[in-house]
């Protein structure tokens, strides 16, 4: 028997009021793969991430993480089971320093939880991991600055840093490179490629260069339905995908 997929969505539906947004998504993400989700604006990509990460429950259907049913669980439970996500709209702790932003995400995973017995700035393991993440996202020099005053690109980098700092093995990134310059995007892609070794990555991305460069498999979400899941080459060649989505960009 093959190991259970990292993520398994079965017939997931989501409606906001009477409006169906996710209309029956069934998807397996294999452990260790880099999986891209693409689709036009408003297709429901972020909504799908919100369901998987516990921001809100699906109207119908089940979500499994590494074999365990996590449907409707709160975000912190899902995070503790090893899933971490980033946000399309930067979602950081603006008044805390950059260093502290990353550290917040390290604490639970190193089992310090709600501890009242540790001095947080004397924890070697916390400090080490925080410094390492800061170096990875190129923010070591800015670590004592309040996160709220970072530039947009720096905040996007921090967003990724917070997401990966907890050491989760399933990582969802929602448009991590949106708004970045060309060189910043290149750096971010290398960072993502580097950190995803041994981890499962699901990434929503509009930049097709990034998608075809990074992804092992691609799912195409259109109007709340996945119309195709396949390797990059075959997605490029897929008629339905071309018609529905890639049409304008195809060459």
């Amino acid at each position: 028997m093959s190991p259970s997929p990292a993520l398994q969505l079965q017939e997931v539906h989501k409606s906001f009021g009477p409006t169906p947004i996710i209309r029956g998504v069934t998807l397996d993400v294999v452990a260790g793969e880099r999986h891209a989700v693409i689709g036009p604006n408003g297709a429901g990509k972020s909504t799908l991430f919100n369901i998987v990460s516990g921001r809100f429950p699906p109207t119908r259907g089940t979500v499994r993480l590494k074999g365990t049913d996590i449907t409707g669980q709160p975000p912190f439970e899902i995070n503790r089971r090893g899933l971490s996500r980033s946000f399309q709209v930067t979602n950081i702790f603006p008044r805390l320093s950059v260093h502290e932003n990353v550290r917040c995400s390290v604490l639970w995973s190193l089992r310090y939880r709600y501890s009242l017995w540790h001095r947080v700035d004397r924890l070697r393991d916390v400090e080490d991991r925080t410094e390492r993440i800061l170096a990875q996202i190129n923010l070591s020099a800015r670590q004592d600055v309040p996160a709220g005053v970072l530039t947009y690109a720096e905040q996007r980098a921090l967003e990724i840093g917070i997401t990966i700092a907890g050491g989760a093995d399933v990582i969802l990134l929602d448009e991590p490179t949106a708004g970045m310059s060309h060189s910043e995007t290149e750096y971010a892609v290398e960072l993502i490629r580097g950190l995803s070794g041994g981890k499962t990555l699901v990434i929503v991305e509009h930049d097709m260069g990034v998608v075809f460069n990074l992804a092992d498999r691609i799912s195409v979400l259109v109007y709340g339905e996945i119309i195709a899941t396949d390797t990059p080459d075959r997605i490029r060649a897929n008629r339905a995908v071309q018609d529905a989505y890639l049409g304008t960009e195809h060459h």
Binding site: N79, R80, F93, E100, C104, L107, W108, Y114
Partner: protein, 436 residues
């Protein structure tokens, strides 16, 4: 551990750690030494000063516990005196048990307060901390009223209007301490206040303490890094209530009585005032606020019955013009002090101070006249204010008050230019000095 040669890549982040740690022991040692010798210093060795500083210590613990919620966790409580009062009641009942023969020395009574505060903090907090923001504030307001109402009904525990009394001298005497003198009580309060402040300061550097800030800033994101914001809030609430209970326990030892006012809305309002006046953005701000407000409470209430009115005005002025409180004002001047440039801004301040005093004098003259006429009409129109006898049926006192208020305000506004000029000069000089 390290093999001799730290590379630049290692030493740079470590330097950052050192900067972030940057906490020294000497201010604490200095404070401890100061508390020890203060009541013995000639001139300050009166029971009045000892009692005043004791009250300041109690207020400081209470205000810091309040700011653990507001400043650190982002929870505005309108009913924080509930935990002060309930802690105080548990402590006073503990003292009664001691009076009846329970073999516990008086210095441990604040622990009763801590236990009481913690117990009710967990009990009530498990309801209130389900939500943050406005809903939380509203619930604390309602619960505050509820507890006050309950205290008037459950007279066996709360003692009704008169409250519950106990005797701190009828207890096992540890090291010969009888607590019959204000000096011994002072040392008891100073010890517990110092310990509480140190523990609350340590709390800010624990994983839980840091996550309180994270939940204050962005509870949603905290959920996605593994933390349950409701749990963080509840724990902060419980710890905060525990320290409020310690303050209540000290209050019980100090006064040997706890009555319904200990948990009432006025005290909840006062602690909010202390925190804001001192500054909710810094750890030590509320201590400053507690000291200033306690001092004003004690001294103003000797001179005027309208002191709460002045507190209201002070509160509005602080919130409008110095939202960071006294701590912020001090922090503003620290760079100047370090650069030895305070003298550049001082003339402006002095120029502003004189008209400000005239303005305040005029304003309070008008206030006092009105207050006296409204609250004690039977005493007639002759009165003595600011050591001057006057008859307010004549126009002159009113004209004098108005003239001082308006003239003072006018001159005060004009003096701002001088203050601004002083600051301008100082920052110019600092920029020049700072340039390489």
């Amino acid at each position: 551990m390290m093999d001799g040669r730290p590379s630049a890549a290692v030493s740079v982040p470590l330097a950052g750690v050192a900067a972030r740690r940057g906490r020294r022991a000497w201010p604490w040692l200095l404070a401890a030494a100061g508390l020890c010798v203060l009541p013995l210093v000639p001139g300050l060795d009166s029971n009045f000063v000892r009692s005043l500083v004791s009250q300041m210590g109690i207020a400081a613990v209470f205000a810091l516990s309040f700011n653990m919620l507001l400043g650190q966790t982002g929870l505005l409580s309108f009913g924080h005196a509930v935990y002060f009062g309930l802690g105080g009641y548990v402590a006073i009942h503990g003292m009664r048990l001691i009076n009846a023969g329970l073999p516990i020395p008086i210095p441990l009574v604040p622990l009763f307060g801590a236990a009481g505060g913690l117990f009710f903090g967990v009990l009530i907090g498990s309801v209130t901390t389900k939500r943050a923001g406005t809903v939380f504030a509203m619930i604390t307001l309602g619960l505050g009223e509820l507890v006050v109402a309950a205290s008037l009904m459950l007279t066996r525990f709360f003692g009704g209007e008169e409250g519950i009394t106990a005797n701190r001298t009828r207890a096992p005497h540890l090291f010969g301490l009888t607590f019959a003198s204000q000096l011994e009580v002072y040392y008891l309060i100073a010890f517990w206040a110092f310990l509480s402040v140190a523990l609350m300061s340590a709390f800010t550097r624990t994983p839980l303490g840091r996550m309180c800030n994270a939940v204050r800033d962005n509870p949603e994101r905290a959920e996605f890094v593994g933390y349950n914001p409701q749990r963080v809030r509840l724990l902060a609430f419980a710890v905060s209530a525990m320290f409020a209970g310690v303050a209540g326990g000290l209050h019980a030892v100090n006064y040997e009585i706890v009555a319904a006012e200990a948990l009432g809305a006025a005290r909840s309002g006062a602690v909010l005032l202390m925190a804001f006046v001192g500054g909710i953005g810094s750890f030590f701000g509320p201590i400053l606020g507690a000291m200033v407000i306690t001092w004003l409470q004690v001294s103003l209430s000797d001179y005027t019955t309208a002191w709460q009115l002045y507190f209201g005005i002070l509160f509005i002025i602080i919130v409008l013009f110095a939202p960071g409180g006294l701590a912020w004002l001090i922090a503003l001047h620290l760079p100047l002090a370090r650069a030895r440039m305070l003298h550049t801004v001082l003339p402006g301040y002095l120029a502003a101070l004189a008209p400000a005093l005239v303005m305040v004098l005029g304003g309070s003259l008008l206030l006092e006249i009105n207050y006296r006429l409204a609250t004690k009409p039977e005493l007639g129109t002759r009165m003595s204010l600011f050591w001057v006898a006057m008859d307010v049926s004549r126009p002159w006192p009113w004209i004098a008050g108005l003239a001082m208020l308006a003239g003072g305000f006018y001159a005060f506004r004009r003096s701002w230019a001088l203050v601004a000029a002083g600051w301008h000069a100082a920052s110019e000089r600092m920029r020049e000095d700072g340039a390489p």
